[in-house]
Symmetry: C2
Subunit: 203 residues, 2 copies
């Protein structure tokens, strides 16, 4: 039984790799950054700006005096934020209606709650996430371990705030997922084979 | 790669069933209540008394004035508690040394931490646990839904206290497990086939 699968993930945990491989194993669509491109197209905003909205702390959570100026977090930006959220909501629902798929991030577990998705959360120890970030860094990207640690904490804090702002639920709280997978000591290929088996019809 | 697998579980979540089926699927030993019988044999205490110690709130956590009398929670009982813990520790290590196996409960994930066990935690929504408890009740066992709910909460509170007392870690905290499995909407046979696949060599 292939169907809609959503993947939430700590930064550096290998959640995107798991999602991509799972979609391959099940022979279904995989969506991640494509969603941002689609939102950008629909809202006529730049991909970078959209990325900032859907991956950063929601503006509604900033105290009104924080930011470059009052205008910066003013009505116009809040309207843009709302339009991005609405576009994201519509696009994710359209994708899920079109065909079975794996969707990484974007609160898709919440947006698609009426589709009864299989909700996965991928996590790992901080040390193993630092190692993974170092091993996958592009040439020329030379962050120190301390900088990577700060980056991981910052991104996850934003994901957590964003999820809680958007869904009212706890990001990574196991009650919000069907399966929580720790990749610290794991081989992602083996994990994926197992998750695919869980979702197959012939158990 | 079969190996040592530990299963922590919320009461009524189907964790024992999952553990038993997983052991069958992997063709390895399964231990649950057998451990209590072994402890009873080694300590010369009754199985019921041992069960009370390893499934109830640790005595060390009671205020000294609580209980039937000072003597009740006095030195003698604490010594017995210690001897049960020591026997449990030794028996679980002996079982793990003897052969690959699935061990349900008993803080085995912590006791066997040097064996790098695959640590599973099984959980479910309160409603689905109530339903499961009703469906598996023996003839003549006629608890109301309210009584079952109270029983679930009481047993899980004790398991949580016991785990935290014994290990210093958080019972059910996902960082302490390799895989957290929500059985609320799940078919346990399909889950088991998937987990067995994760643990097989040929992924």
């Amino acid at each position: 039984m292939a169907r809609i699968i959503t993947v939430g993930r700590q930064f550096g945990s290998g959640g995107r790799e798991l999602g991509r491989r799972l979609a391959e194993a099940l022979g279904i669509q995989y969506y991640d950054r494509e969603i941002i491109s689609e939102i950008a197209k629909k809202t006529k905003l730049s991909e970078e700006y959209v990325h900032n909205i859907v991956e950063r702390k929601p503006m509604g959570l900033y105290p009104i005096t924080v930011g470059k100026s009052f205008a910066y977090v003013g009505e116009y930006s809040l309207i843009q934020q709302q339009s991005v959220y609405k576009a994201q909501d519509r696009i994710i629902k359209e994708l899920a209606d079109k065909s079975d798929c794996v969707i990484v991030g974007r609160c898709a577990d919440y947006i698609l709650r009426d589709h009864a998705p299989f909700r996965i959360f991928v996590y790992a120890s901080l040390d193993s996430r630092i190692k993974r970030c170092i091993s996958r860094a592009s040439n020329g990207e030379n962050l120190t371990e301390k900088e990577i640690k700060r980056q991981i904490r910052e991104i996850d804090k934003n994901r957590s705030k964003y999820y809680e702002f958007y869904t009212g639920g706890k990001w990574g709280g196991k009650e919000n997922y069907d399966l929580c997978v720790n990749t610290t000591n794991a081989n992602i290929k083996e994990l994926v084979a197992g998750v695919a088996r869980m979702l197959s019809e012939n158990a």
